[in-house]
């Protein structure tokens, strides 16, 4: 693990910012719940909570061992490739570790929880609670530590600058790759394996609209996410990009501008396409702006950050529509577009706007790693996991709702739930 010295002031600031970061988790949890159906709301929110708990335990027991330390190095073409961390077992010796190492580990505990929540939103209304916890444990114990070591822990992606003269190596201050794209690609794997919700894609005709049940949860989740993201991006700029304290306000402004630009663009696109702005798509646009800012808020100028947000905001509603209508991908939370595509765009933008030569290629190599290695690996692990812990609930469970089926009671017991037309 990187043990760069950190001043007392920077340590206190970074710790305070990381303690705000769970608000991003709370925001995403509310968005996941609000975009699902009312008959699965309690199961969805309980699942978010259980996933945070399971990832913390799995990461402490297994994942943290693979993330830090000097790392295993192989020599290829006379260059070192640091591919796996060698941290202490069971988070041992944490109190004696350097201040930077302690903050890094806290950041990674929070990061893995957020990464594992993202596929849970995509599997809404059909993913079993045990399956959600199992896939979170797999992510926290295997793929996340591997990727986080490569990007944050002195692994080969972070060393691309030293070993191949590619800028400053792969840059990801706010976890766009390790959290957002990993989560988004995991969401794609879950959707592929679990399949669409029953009645979503009839054999003939257009796909059935299954709108989210609570726009207030979704939009309030966006506001919570802003606070969490500000903490996350600024802490990440300190921890991983080693930005001086004087440059941190710009990182925060960039985060806000990216989200703002994205929301305005999505608002305009949905108003132009549908005649009225769409609340859930605007929420997705806002979140896509935040996700894109994770990669580049600590690197770009405010104007560039606004541009990054505008592009994310234009692309989000169009891609959500494309995925559902043209590609038959049933993603209730829009996580694949928001987290995977938004994160990839942010990583690319960090390379486009960087001033160091070779930085764009470093970012492209990171993107190629995510698409070419991480996605197939996650799919393989989830496919195997699905054989042991079936992801999808049975048809009867899906019909009565996940709340009644898995918890024995609904989130809104006094509501009368209307008959579902898709089951005729």
């Amino acid at each position: 693990m990187n043990s760069t010295p950190i001043t007392d002031a920077a340590f206190a600031l970074c710790l305070a910012l990381l303690l705000l970061a769970p608000l991003a988790i709370a925001g995403v949890a509310l968005i996941n719940t609000g975009l699902g159906r009312c008959r699965s709301a309690a199961q969805a929110l309980l699942g978010n909570l259980a996933i945070v708990a399971v990832t913390a335990i799995a990461f402490a027991l297994v994942g943290a061992t693979w993330i830090g330390g000097a790392g295993h190095v192989i020599q290829l073409a006379d260059r070192p490739w640091n591919w796996l961390g060698t941290g202490s077992y069971l988070v041992g010796g944490l109190s004696a570790a350097s201040a930077h190492a302690q903050l890094a580990l806290l950041s990674e505990f929070l990061a893995v929880a957020l990464a594992a929540l993202i596929p849970w939103g995509s599997g809404a209304d059909r993913l079993r609670l045990t399956a959600g916890c199992a896939l979170a444990a797999v992510l926290a114990a295997t793929v996340f530590p591997l990727l986080a070591h490569w990007v944050w822990g002195g692994g080969w992606l972070s060393q691309l600058g030293v070993n191949f003269s590619l800028g400053a190596g792969f840059l990801d201050g706010g976890g766009a790759a390790t959290v957002q794209v990993l989560g988004g690609l995991s969401a794609l794997a879950v959707v592929w394996i679990a399949g669409p919700r029953r009645g979503k894609f009839p054999k003939e005709g257009l796909s059935t609209a299954l709108p989210g049940h609570n726009a207030v949860y979704v939009l309030f989740g966006c506001l919570l996410a802003l606070v969490g993201w500000l903490g996350w991006n600024v802490a990440g700029a300190l921890l991983w990009l080693h930005v001086p304290l004087s440059a941190l306000p710009v990182t925060a402004v960039n985060t806000l501008l990216s989200a703002a630009g994205s929301l305005v663009a999505t608002f305009a696109v949905t108003r132009f396409r549908f005649g009225k702005p769409d609340a859930s798509l605007c929420a997705n646009g806002w979140l896509a702006g935040l996700v894109a800012s994770s990669a580049c808020a600590g690197i770009v100028t405010p104007v560039e950050s606004l541009f990054v947000g505008l592009v994310a905001g234009i692309a989000t509603p169009l891609l959500v529509e494309l995925l559902e209508l043209a590609l038959s991908i049933d993603d209730p939370s829009g996580a694949i577009t928001v987290h995977a595509v938004g994160g990839l765009w942010g990583l690319l933008a960090a390379g486009i706007f960087a001033t160091q030569p070779g930085q764009l290629v470093a970012q492209l190599v990171g993107i190629a790693t995510l698409l070419g290695l991480v996605l197939p690996l996650v799919y393989l692990l989830f496919w195997l996991l699905n054989r042991v812990v079936p992801f999808r609930v049975d048809a009867d469970g899906e019909r009565i709702g996940m709340d009644l089926h898995e918890l024995g009671g609904g989130a809104y017991p006094e509501f009368v739930i209307h008959r579902d037309e898709s089951y005729r």
Binding site: L76, A77, R79, L160, F164, W192, G195, P196, R197, R198, G199, K200, F201, P202, K203, L327, S328, I329, D330, P357, G358, V361, L364, V365, I367, A368, T369, L371, G372, L373, L375, P376, Y379, L380
Partner: protein, 60 residues
């Protein structure tokens, strides 16, 4: 078809790694990194196409 696409994607990744190792000059390295990404996109497109057929075929 989905599995074929998912198998093509690591090939693109290894092409990218090969570009780093084999080409010290910037221009051919960039070109091969882009080729690697293009192969990955091709694999992703095939995998998505395979999923579409399965999703529509199930008609859940």
């Amino acid at each position: 078809m989905k599995y074929a696409g998912l198998l093509v994607m690591p090939a693109g990744f290894f092409l990218t790694i090969a570009a780093l190792v084999l080409f010290p000059d910037a221009a051919p390295r960039e070109a091969f990194v882009l080729c690697g990404l293009a192969v990955e996109c091709l694999g992703l497109a095939v995998a998505v196409r395979g999923h579409m057929e399965a999703a529509r075929g199930e008609g859940r």
